[in-house]
């Protein structure tokens, strides 16, 4: 089965979703990512969804879930590069991903993570 690669960059993990997500893939990603955070002790996770063209309510909820799980494991999560159509769909579905940080692109997402970790209480 395909898996979404998780790359380690310094203190952060970088997840780039390049394919259309289906339910099993999203579940596998949640599993892999939580394991990887614990394994590497990462302080931040950056999820790049700029290639994701279609979302349904399940995928939307999985993105929110993955972010929540990462937060429980003490890693800040930033979702970057959401397309306009995807953003509109998620809002129409009533999923506004409260509590998930967002940024326009990977570069700004990295900056956001760095400042969040520098300012953070820890």
């Amino acid at each position: 089965m395909d898996r979404i690669p998780i790359l380690k960059m310094g203190a952060f993990l970088l997840v780039t979703i390049q394919v259309d997500m289906h339910d099993r893939l999203a579940m596998a990603l949640q599993d892999d990512l939580s394991n990887k955070i614990v394994e590497t002790g990462a302080r931040g996770v950056l999820i790049d969804i700029s290639s994701l063209e279609m979302v349904d309510s399940f995928i939307g909820r999985m993105i929110a879930n993955i972010a929540s799980v990462a937060r429980v494991l003490d890693a800040e999560t930033v979702v970057v590069g959401m397309r306009p159509a995807v953003a509109i769909t998620l809002v129409e579905l009533g999923l506004s991903l409260h509590g998930v940080r967002t940024a326009l692109d990977v570069e700004r997402g990295m900056e956001l993570l760095e400042t969040a970790l520098a300012d953070g209480p820890r």
């Binding site: 959401m82 306009p84 953003a87 809002v91 506004s96 326009l104 700004r108």
Partner: protein, 285 residues
Amino acid sequence: MANGRLAQVLERHRAQLSSDWIREQTADGVLRDTRIDEAELRGQCDEFLALLVRATLEGGTNVSGPAFAPVRDMLERMARWRGERGFTPSQTALFVLSLKKPIFSRIRVDFEREPGALFQEIWRATELIDSLALLTTEAFQRGREAVIARQQAEMLELSTPVVKLWEGILALPLIGTLDSARTQTVMETLLQRVVETGSEIVIIDITGVPTVDTLVAQHLLKTVSAARLMGVECIISGVRPQIAQTIVHLGVALSDVITKANLADAFKLALSKRGMGIGARTGGV
């Protein structure tokens, strides 16, 4: 075939019918206006008669049949053309209806000896002309509706400008009432511009929105949420005193969104969020 007799009448007297018909229309005063000249009218009449003769010879008086397709096309074109020139619906329908009298007088001459056939053919002709006139009116209506739809789309586009105020700061001045269709366009245009310009802050100015009810507020919140999902911060500006009171009264939760009374304050905040500012120059030239 009984059907063929009307067609024969039409075919035999085509030239005569054409000139009678044009005289009939000029008597109504259509020609006296500047929207159509005689050559054009004659062209339309001759084309229509030619098509009508061929259609009745092939397909009788069944106007929805395949034989009448060219006639229907021609009427559709004619009605749209007249609609665009500002003809009224009655003037457009009269184009077809005024053919009745010339046809009736031809039928009367041809069937003078057979009262039964005379009545039958007149009835047939009436039915034919009436249904063609109805088709014309419908086509006229469709033409008008197409114009209205196009204008609505144009207005929708005109009313949603996204302005770049500064590097990384966009402004969206909203004017007029926000309905669902408009909000959708506004949202799409805004998010598209955000991607194109890579902006991080958007100021939504609602000075020009006359009333904010729960629906409008919900639409605004949706836009803000969608922008936030893309990593863009929204500031709502131009909240007038009455609108602020209404929002509180309606219990709309605008507390997650930064709101400012005017665009200047919002712009100042946006600049300071990006680590910039505007101030008077001290000791300059």
